[in-house]
Assembly symmetry: C2
Homo-oligomer: 170 residues x 2
DNA sequence: ATTAATTTTCAATTTATTTTGAAAGTTCGA
DNA sequence: TCGAACTTTCAAAATAAATTGAAAATTAAT
């Protein structure tokens, strides 16, 4: 396999993975493309390489910027914008975790809190308590997950996968 | 809010969360419904409560069974099948992790391994090395994630969120 | 063996998501 | 200030995913 071919396959594979993680295929592919590019790429280059429309390219580069997975790079003397991808896979993971938490876990926990406002405690005592326990368990689990990911978001990669992993895995 | 209302809201919220995690809405809703049910439920009851078709109910109860998130329960003297949901949120998390790993992470890692079979090492030496490093980084990250989730899959809930969390969070 | 009860399948439909592309908007140099 | 270069928007079209429902298959009682 040649390098260029391998890169193409990588872009495809990353796109497929993205789909499974709530990131649309194009967004993941652009990100992969930016990860394997030596140079910043323009919208036109992205359109050309991935064979997608301008609208699509524009929407998804902006989504990547929102997520912190890419940034704009202005080249002196060039009018056009160029894009650079975050290449540190640790940072990529941290940004995805942060974004998903904001969009999914936080709202879930808010919902759980609302659900605890049940006012027929006296009726169906046992059933009520079981449901309450389920809500508490879920919230407790989410809380632990939050704490782990907090650590990850704040920690340095080497600390996390060095020191901490040793504690865990040993 | 009344208990029944809270349960309905919970089923909805769980359904929404599911969508974000690659589990379709109905599957997540059935699972939520089984979690909050005191009794095993029949396909007809699930259809009735969630207002879905028989085909849909059947497909998704079976999917839940495949994932290990529900099981069939035969009632003596009853012809119909009933379903019981896994209610231990720790076990639920472990089963989802295991299933997603099987379907997504394992294939990705296999792809990464294939991509390493590049035969133009000599050309474009530096570019080749950078790409190789990216693949290694991703694989290393996936490996660490695997190890953490292995621990989770094997560990006891209390150990994991007791002992281990203390080590991590402190 | 018959048939009534129940489960499974799957083509057709519905719903949700993504993509296109052209028009509108913006920016900047001359 | 004009206009070319470039970016953004968004309604319509295309694609993908979930759902229906009725027919086929299976199961179990008589």
């Amino acid at each position: 396999m040649k390098l260029e071919e391998a890169k193409r396959n990588f872009v495809e594979a990353w796109g497929t993975l993205g789909t499974n993680w709530g990131i649309n295929r194009t967004m993941a592919q652009i990100h992969a493309l930016l990860m394997v590019s030596e140079q910043p790429l323009s919208t036109d280059e992205i359109m050309e390489i991935l064979d997608i429309s301008r609208g699509n390219a524009n929407m998804n580069t902006r989504a990547l910027i929102d997520w912190g997975l890419a940034e704009r790079k202005i080249k002196l003397g060039e009018r056009m914008e160029f894009f650079v991808g975050e290449k540190d896979i640790w940072k990529v993971a941290v940004k995805i975790i942060r974004e998903r938490r904001k969009r999914e876990i936080d709202p879930l926990r808010a919902t759980l809190r609302d659900l605890k406002m049940i006012d027929d405690k006296e009726d169906k005592k046992e059933e009520y308590q079981k449901f309450m326990k389920l809500l508490d368990d879920i919230d407790g689990f989410a809380d632990s997950a939050d704490k782990i990911t907090d650590k990850m978001v704040l920690a340095d990669k080497n600390w996390f996968f060095g020191t901490m992993m040793k504690l865990m895995i040993k």
